[in-house]
Assembly symmetry: C2
Homo-oligomer: 491 residues x 2
């Protein structure tokens, strides 16, 4: 049985939920397999309407959803209400992607000389497994971005619920299932399983064609290995952890120390630091007033209840490891959060030299509101250290755009960040991921398992598609979208 | 040392070539690593000119290239001259892709409400390893499609030459290297290694960011595993073997038996059957006159010299395995090809029932001019057997388009082929792969290791790219192509 707990009290929240049996998992996959050609065959307009029906149904029950999610996650009514809106906004965004149709990448090559009539279009891969995240009970969970993009692509989805919010997951799944059915989506389009074993069985099932995951690096890499070792390997799109380095250039540090320090503290402690985009590493000039400002800002910050006893224990261990490190000194701590798993914000300090000499402890993710400030003597010395970092979802640079020396340094730092991060923020913070076409919420391994793809934004649909080319087809046998070869030849 | 042999005589062709040492491999990767930011930083126009310089230089020495390749492969002057043209055509095609620029997928999302200024563009992944094929000494070798597409993307390339044509590889590499240098490409943009050990060292090198491969299923899967097990796994784009099922519907079999049989024999024996697109499985109606026509056409066909003693031995083993299979009877054989490794075309016959009951021998690739004809009692019974096939590069269906029953059956067969093949040909044969934008030379695992990508056509460039998003950047720090946010919001 899976039992949720209220992070504010540590007491059980809601009734325990049964783990899905092997027979139950197999039945859902069978239903998804039967649904696949039917869902793929729905018109894009009908699939768009089904996504909108799900969005409308979730919006209609927002207070109920927020109440149960708040009891299971303690993320607060405001954040959770916003997250439901983000979730339904994503579903509607993908409805727009379907109506636009360009995601199909339909292309016809000119018939010229020896070249045959050749046309290509994207098709849905097949039934998809989605592993929900702990830290976003809506936007990266049952009806989150992976589900929305896969359903949009025409792939049936089976979600493995996160153990921390089974009640939220069940209510969301019920709403999603009813809305899809009412919109005419085939039976088996959507399913939900509970339990680690059920998730593993799902991932190993021969009929599952791909998987999406948002969560820890260790968990994601273990699941990625399972996918790679299947008899028929499948793509595993894991969005894992990251330390998201932020570089403050000398001009910016001098001009805006207080502003940068308060922005940093806010980003570091947002959601009790429980974001994969948390700014774990802050590189600041060695002789900067920024250190004192950061100490003051983080000293004045407050933590919050973490999502679970396990996440809190992991955070405590990570903080203890940093505290015990000989090359590190504590810079500041904030106020402890509420409840038995209330996190205390911490910021530690080290030198670039110590950081570079360390063999992996200091550059490790500390999931929660703990930051490491690294003082660098010069950008020249900083660059190889940045270049040696593992992959990240985000990098950021703070630059005084009015200062030619800062601009010149930024032109050195940005190429280094480009190679280790999927998104680069200028004069801002890694947290906050806009759901738009130009988003790339991805990054080099191990920030993600397949760095060419994003899990946020409209391009997320590409993960669930595969091209098929049709050669010398009579019009009556071509897929509808290829019948009128309107699109020009393009790469 | 690596020694080429003339397939027409079995005698050595040219002098032995030294295997590349560990130090030699590392030096090439170091040079490629230094070249990477410089090549990525070249303007698209300058990179296009470099590709065209390579194409011009290869064309200028076509007779020399063809002569040495013919001595090493016995593929013949006509085929090899055409293949050089295909190779230089590919290079020029990618020059056009660069000038067009849409492969960059540059996109800017509208700044509205809380949405930040966010822009995204594709960037080159890094140094790329390319494993050349035996059966295309030009188009899938040193200056072939993998090399052309990776250089176009801005990735330095190190090719592991195929053991069967070291002289061709060295001459091609010399021409490519000189042309790139003369066009201003950075030193280290291109390199060549010889030997299996050198190839493995290349694949395991931490600075290599991705690999392309064309070759056997067994070899490709072994290299794919190495890539997956690296400390930092890298994408391995393997284009492996396939059996490429061809379904002849009853109407087509009745209306065009002789034409289909002669087309089949030609496709089966083209290039001594040494194509990954060879039509290994032919499904024909049980009561059809096609069987006799196929027997006659293949009986009148001739084999050719195979590329190497090893490939010939593999073919002999595969033929012997089919001959020894109790469910299979020989249908026809053609004339043996020239030389010590001259292949004899063979066609075998079995029933759908025997084929379905077999546990993997009959559906195996037999690299060379050997085909299996499977007689099916009805399309209804055929469909589940098609659905159970592993992934293929190509599937084909022969249909009498004037016959409504054939059209109706095609509408059942095509969806089945769509799920097991990357390209579907109507009333044609799998061999022959047009180099155009709409091509998809890929297919479900294990036909390829990453089924979303093609190794032929302009979309092949996508394998060597990764997106980066830029948030809140001042214009002066943005990549040039993102400065003018001309492109509309799109998925």
């Amino acid at each position: 049985m899976i039992q949720a707990f209220n992070p504010r009290t540590g007491e059980p929240a809601g009734d325990p939920v049964a783990e899905t049996s092997d027979v139950g998992v197999d039945a859902l996959v069978s239903a998804a397999t039967e649904a696949y050609p039917l869902l793929a065959g729905m018109s894009l307009g009908a699939r768009a309407e089904a996504l909108e029906a799900v969005a409308d149904a979730l919006d209609a029950r927002v207070s109920e959803l927020v109440a149960i999610a708040d009891a299971e996650t303690a993320l607060g009514e405001e954040r959770l209400t916003g997250e439901v809106g983000r979730t339904t906004g994503q579903l509607r965004l993908f409805a727009g992607v379907l109506r636009d149709g360009s995601y199909l990448d339909a292309v016809a090559s000119p018939v010229a000389g020896a070249a045959p009539d050749l046309r290509r279009v994207n098709r849905p891969l097949g039934p998809v497994a989605v592993f929900a995240a702990s830290n976003f009970p809506f936007a990266f969970s049952v009806a989150g971005g992976d589900t929305a993009s896969a359903l949009a692509a025409g792939c049936p989805v089976i979600v493995k619920a996160h153990e921390n919010h089974p009640g939220t997951s069940d209510l969301t799944a019920q709403i999603v299932g009813e809305a899809l059915a009412s919109a005419g989506a085939p039976t088996g389009t959507f399913g939900l399983v509970h339990g680690v074993d059920a998730g593993l069985r799902l991932l190993r099932h021969p009929a599952v064609a791909a998987a999406g995951f948002t969560g820890s690096t260790a968990g994601g890499l273990a699941l990625a290995r399972i996918c790679a070792e299947r008899e028929v390997p499948i793509p595993f799109y894991g969005e894992l952890g990251a330390v998201n380095p932020v570089v403050v250039l000398p001009g910016a540090a001098a001009a805006r120390a207080a502003e940068i320090a308060s922005g940093y503290a806010a980003s570091l402690t947002l959601g009790a630091g429980q974001f994969c985009t948390n700014p774990g590493l802050l590189f600041v000039p060695a002789d900067s007033a920024l250190l004192a400002a950061v100490a003051e800002a983080v000293g004045g910050s407050a933590g919050g209840p973490m999502l679970s006893a396990r996440i809190f224990a992991g955070y405590q261990d990570a903080v203890a490891e940093a505290e015990a490190h000989p090359g590190v000194t504590p810079l500041a701590s904030g106020a402890q959060g509420e409840g038995p798993w209330g996190a205390t914000p911490h910021v530690f300090q080290t030198s670039l030299k110590e950081f570079a000499a360390d063999t992996g402890v200091l550059s490790r993710e500390r999931f929660g509101p703990a930051g490491l400030v690294i003082t660098y003597p010069s950008v020249e010395e900083l660059l190889p250290v940045l270049g040696a970092l593992a992959g990240n979802l985000v990098g950021a640079v703070h630059v005084d755009t009015g200062s030619p020396p800062d601009i010149a340094l930024a032109r050195q730092v940005i190429p280094a960040l480009q190679r280790i991060a999927g998104r680069i923020v200028c004069n801002g913070w890694p947290t906050g991921v806009a759901v738009v076409a130009a988003q790339h919420h991805g990054g080099p391994w191990p920030a993600t398992t397949v760095p060419a793809y994003t899990s946020v934004g409209t391009a997320a649909i590409r993960r669930w598609l595969v091209p098929v080319a049709y050669q010398n087809f009579p019009a009556e046998l071509l897929p509808d979208v290829l019948r009128e070869a309107g699109k020009a030849d393009q790469p």
